[in-house]
């Protein structure tokens, strides 16, 4: 079925037009025209704008504003529009009405994905057009315009798929905005080392900034130097635009599959087990590929320096990667974990009532697999580092990942079984107590030792400090974390037994 014949797309188009599209287009045109007139004013009389050294510099500034607004409209606005549309249509019962038609899940998803943010697409098209005029007038490279537009458009599509999933899972429209705010906040720390952290490529911040930096600046210009040059994956240079598009396409395919699956059957988890492992593996592989050259043969001291950082900058890049791995694991475990109620119905259907079968369905089993994947990738990194002193650190990091993944998956299921709808609130509370509170207390009491009680600490401390003399101490803390795993496992088992007793 062609997009122009897709009933969902046609209806969304009608709704967008009826909701008033002219005002939105005029606003975009007005914003764009003001920025364009700013550039024209500079070109007419550069002496009025002493802060700009050249027309190119002025053009970059004005075009930068254009793409800033474009990102806000297309990526943030589009995300919000899609997720809100889906949440509202689910509430109204229209989503179910559409699901009952013979339309395929892929047609439903496509209709909402491309149809509901049409107003934002129109606005972005106007801004992109004005942006092109600015680029041409300022004699900037056309690749700057083309590259940035491709990246913004691909990111909007990528976020659109995320919005579909968010809209299918969340209950409140506002939650979509909260989701995107968290996403951007998490992105912020990676600006410190833009070329080495994957989030800068998944969201194409490096690609866009690099196009601005390298399209005009001369080699002697050291401003924004950390955004200059090509990133390397396992030592091989790659264009940031290509890397961003590749990452967004790969993850986008998984998101697409998840959206289709969730549309066809809302009772399934968004991710299948193999997909969860594949996404985790691909992202982790790419991340370690980015820091590969930084490490090879130089672990762990080289972690602290790179050619752009001062020797005393003490950039704990592997600690950041370690935290990112944990965060990614949490997201994957949350997305792939089955709801206990779904497992209960499966048990009722199959007539199986033993805990071993439950464990294989549980996300705790997936936690073991994710830890194993991390272990293999980390092992490659440590082996390549060629430093025998690093093995103890490797095991501490790996055990920390394993204990964290197990704690999270067991905690999530325990809370889902015990607290049902309030489960996520309790999981957040416990994660705050286990992860964040020790750092806050350490700050309040100015006692760094308290921070080591956090379940994040062993990995962070071991990986950040090349001269750590207290590795045995860290092993003791990890052992304590496995104590938490055992306690959670007992509670988890008890909750499942109670649920199984009711499964008649």
């Amino acid at each position: 079925m062609k997009l122009s014949e897709n009933p969902i797309f046609i209806t969304q188009k009608r709704l967008v037009r009826r909701g008033g599209v002219l005002a939105a287009i005029l606003i975009a045109a007005l914003v764009g025209a003001s920025l364009l007139s700013g550039l024209i004013a500079y070109l007419a009389d550069p002496t009025n704008f002493p802060s700009f050294k050249s027309s190119q510099e002025a053009g970059k500034m004005f075009y930068g504003w254009i793409i800033g607004v474009e990102i806000l409209v297309l990526v943030v606005g589009g995300f919000s529009r899609i997720s809100n549309t889906l949440v509202n249509e689910r509430k109204a019962g229209l989503w179910d009405s559409n699901r009952l038609t013979p339309l395929k899940a892929s047609q439903l998803v496509t209709g909402y994905w491309l149809g509901s943010p049409l107003r934002e697409f129109y606005m972005a098209a106007i801004l992109a057009g004005i942006g092109l005029v600015i680029v041409l007038l300022a004699k900037l490279s056309i690749t700057l315009w083309l590259g940035t537009q491709i990246l913004i458009f691909s990111t909007a599509l990528f976020f659109g798929l995320l919005a579909i999933l968010v809209g299918l899972v969340l209950q409140k429209p506002q939650a979509g905005i909260a989701f995107i705010a968290v996403f951007f906040l998490l992105q912020m720390p990676s600006f410190a080392m833009p070329k080495y952290l994957l989030t800068n490529f998944l969201l194409p911040t490096y690609g866009i900034a690099n196009l601005f930096r390298d399209s005009v600046n001369s080699e002697n210009d050291y401003s924004m130097h950390e955004w200059s040059g090509l990133p390397e994956i396992f030592g091989l240079p790659i264009y940031p635009l290509v890397l961003s598009l590749a990452l967004q396409t790969i993850i986008g395919i998984f998101l697409w599959r998840a959206a289709i699956r969730k549309t066809a059957n809302p009772f399934q988890p968004p991710l299948l087990r193999w997909e969860a492992v594949a996404i985790f593996g691909i992202l982790l592989f790419a991340q370690h590929g980015l820091i590969w050259d930084l490490w090879r043969g130089q672990f762990p001291t080289a972690v602290l320096y790179n050619k752009y950082f001062r020797a005393d900058s003490n950039a704990p890049i592997l600690s950041i990667v370690h935290c990112g791995t944990i965060l990614l694991g949490i997201i994957i475990l949350g997305a792939a974990g089955l709801q206990p109620e779904v497992v209960r119905i499966k048990i009722l259907r199959l007539g199986i009532k033993n805990l071993r079968a439950i464990f294989s369905e549980s996300s705790a089993a997936l936690a073991l697999v994710l830890a194993a994947v991390s272990g293999v990738i980390l092992l490659a990194q440590f082996t390549a580092s060629g430093n025998s002193d690093s093995w103890e650190i490797y095991f501490i990091a790996l055990l920390n990942l394993l204990s964290f993944f197990l704690i999270f998956s067991l905690l999530l299921e325990f809370c889902r079984l015990r607290f049902r709808r309030r489960a996520l609130g309790f999981v957040a509370l416990w994660l705050f107590i286990l992860c964040v509170l020790p750092f806050i207390l350490a700050g309040v009491f100015t006692n760094g030792a308290i921070a080591k009680l956090s379940i994040l600490s062993p990995g962070i401390v071991a990986l950040a400090d090349s001269n750590n003399e207290n590795l045995n101490n860290l092993l003791g803390i990890v052992a304590g974390h496995f104590g938490i795993v055992v306690l959670l496992f007992i509670g988890w088992q008890r909750q499942w037994k109670q649920l199984l007793a009711r499964a008649v």
Binding site: E5, P7, I8, I10, T11, R14, L15, R18, G19, A92, G93, L94, D96, S97, N98, R99, L100, T101, P102, L103, N265, F267, E341, R344, I345, L348, R349, R420
Partner: protein, 308 residues
């Protein structure tokens, strides 16, 4: 039943704390209008959502037009029309655009003509170009019914279609349902207001707490009834009639002007015998009927306790 349009066997739906539908089996044939009756929370809506595939079943099978829900959901969708108990409409679309959306989704041939037919059938022709948000609740309900009828499905699931309708709307709905029955559709219609269903249901399924209490044609269920409230009227002197009634198996006999009401314990044959006795003894009967409609009596006799 040989090949019912809608066949449900041992259907079970589980919710976290309760079994919402438990071991439900029923069948609706072409031209049947089956009333799914039960109090709030009996599992009527869950049953309909499970039949349409919107609610996951734990066990059991659902067949619509010979297509199994579990293995042929797409083929089943083309045979089934589901009208939920609320009216989901796109408020910013006109009535005809709303129907066009679903006509395209069902790939209905000759779209414009079919939309016109459905609007006509539901008395909405005048509202063709009105925005959905401008329609009254009753009109929205009829529009959603029109949408349900668009693909000409064999089986219709109507969940509380008359709730919120004014008396005129109910009369119109009744006419539409009779037309559908005549057109040979299999209709499963739920309600907890029995007067809504009487007159056009020829079968009934009574549910309580997720379980089917009784199921059959109205005639079959009437036969099964052991107790009913009756009203009789006669011409002339009623003393003889009252004497006969007092001496027969009746309770709570209350005489009124040229008539009486009473409760009768016994099956239809025993009731027929009583009428015969009255006539043979020379009582000039002018009216002989059950008090309350058939469905209400069936429900009261079914053992289900929690209506309304």
């Amino acid at each position: 039943m040989a090949n019912p349009f809608l066949a449900i066997e041992h259907l079970r739906v589980d919710f976290p704390e309760i079994v919402a539908v438990n071991d439900l089996s029923l069948a609706v044939e072409a031209g049947d209008v089956c009333g799914l009756i039960g109090p709030n929370g009996a599992g009527k809506t869950t049953t309909m959502r499970a039949i349409s595939g919107l609610q996951e079943c734990t066990r059991g099978s659902v067949k619509v037009g010979g297509h199994e829900l579990a293995s042929e959901p797409d083929a089943l969708k083309r045979q089934l029309g589901f009208m939920p108990d609320f009216c989901p409409t796109y408020d910013q679309l006109t009535a005809s655009e709303f129907l066009d959306h679903f006509a395209r989704a069902y790939d209905v041939p000759n779209r414009a003509k079919r939309i016109e037919e459905c609007l006509q059938l539901t008395w909405l022709t005048e509202k063709t170009n009105a925005l959905c948000e401008e329609l009254s609740r009753g009109m929205k309900q009829r529009l959603v019914l029109a949408k349900t009828l668009l693909p000409d499905p064999k089986v219709l699931l109507l969940d509380e279609p008359a709730s919120g309708l004014d008396p005129l709307g109910r009369i119109e709905l009744r006419k539409i349902l009779l037309q559908l029955r005549e057109a040979g559709k299999a209709v499963l219609i739920s309600s907890h207001i029995l007067t809504e269903l009487s007159g056009f249901c020829n079968t009934a399924a009574i549910m309580e707490r997720g379980k089917l209490v009784t199921f059959g044609t109205i005639a079959e269920l009437g036969q099964k009834m052991s107790r009913r409230q009756m009203s009789v009227k006669w011409r002339g002197d009623g003393e003889k009639a009252l004497e006969i009634l007092k001496n027969s198996n009746v309770k709570n006999l209350e005489a009124a002007n040229l008539g009486a009401t009473f409760n009768f314990d016994g099956d239809t044959n025993a009731l027929d015998e009583l009428l015969k006795t009255l006539v043979v003894q020379g009582v000039r009967i002018s009216e002989w009927r059950g008090v309350g409609d058939d469905l209400e009596q069936i429900f009261l006799q079914s053992g289900a306790k929690e209506l309304m």
